[in-house]
Subunit: 99 residues, 2 copies
């Protein structure tokens, strides 16, 4: 599987970020044609209560690189990418191969 | 699911790291009792050929936080944690909840 991994740092307003992410951004992701699976990981504070280095990670799974490229070029893929700006954080985006 | 996410930066000797990771570290991880699933993602260079921010990500999945704590306290869990030093990189480790 080819995965698009998106790592978000801690937003200034966590509650607002989470609400928008869950209510708007995830539904846009799930609507992308060719998406095989999507996983969202919410990171917890460290054992000492410190904020984690990242707040949230999304993983979008595609059959292969060609499928990912095609999916992100659809209207739904473009809408998802454009909506990223509404989250107010520039995430770290990584393409990888997952086994 | 509770996940332990381990993010490794790019090692000085990628080939040596990958060989040790695949040959020794992954088998130690898979031997941990209570591990529900393990996924390894290898990140690819950016579209401009630049090195990705992280080289590799491991995700270890457990039923819940209690199961993760119990698993990492077993002999196999301790052996896995101890073997991390042989990889020559201090990774970013994050505990999270994955859906």
């Amino acid at each position: 599987m080819i995965t698009l991994t998106v790592l978000y740092g801690t937003p200034d307003d966590v509650e607002k970020f989470d609400e928008y992410y869950d209510g708007t951004h995830i539904p846009l992701a799930r609507a992308v044609p060719g998406l095989e699976d999507a996983k969202v990981t919410r990171f917890l504070p460290g054992p000492d209560g410190s904020a984690p280095e990242f707040h949230l990670m999304a993983q979008l799974f595609f059959a292969d690189a060609e499928a990912m490229g095609a999916a992100m070029s659809t209207d739904e893929g473009r809408a998802l990418a454009a909506d990223g700006a509404n989250l107010g954080i520039t995430p770290t985006m990584l393409v990888g191969s997952t086994e």
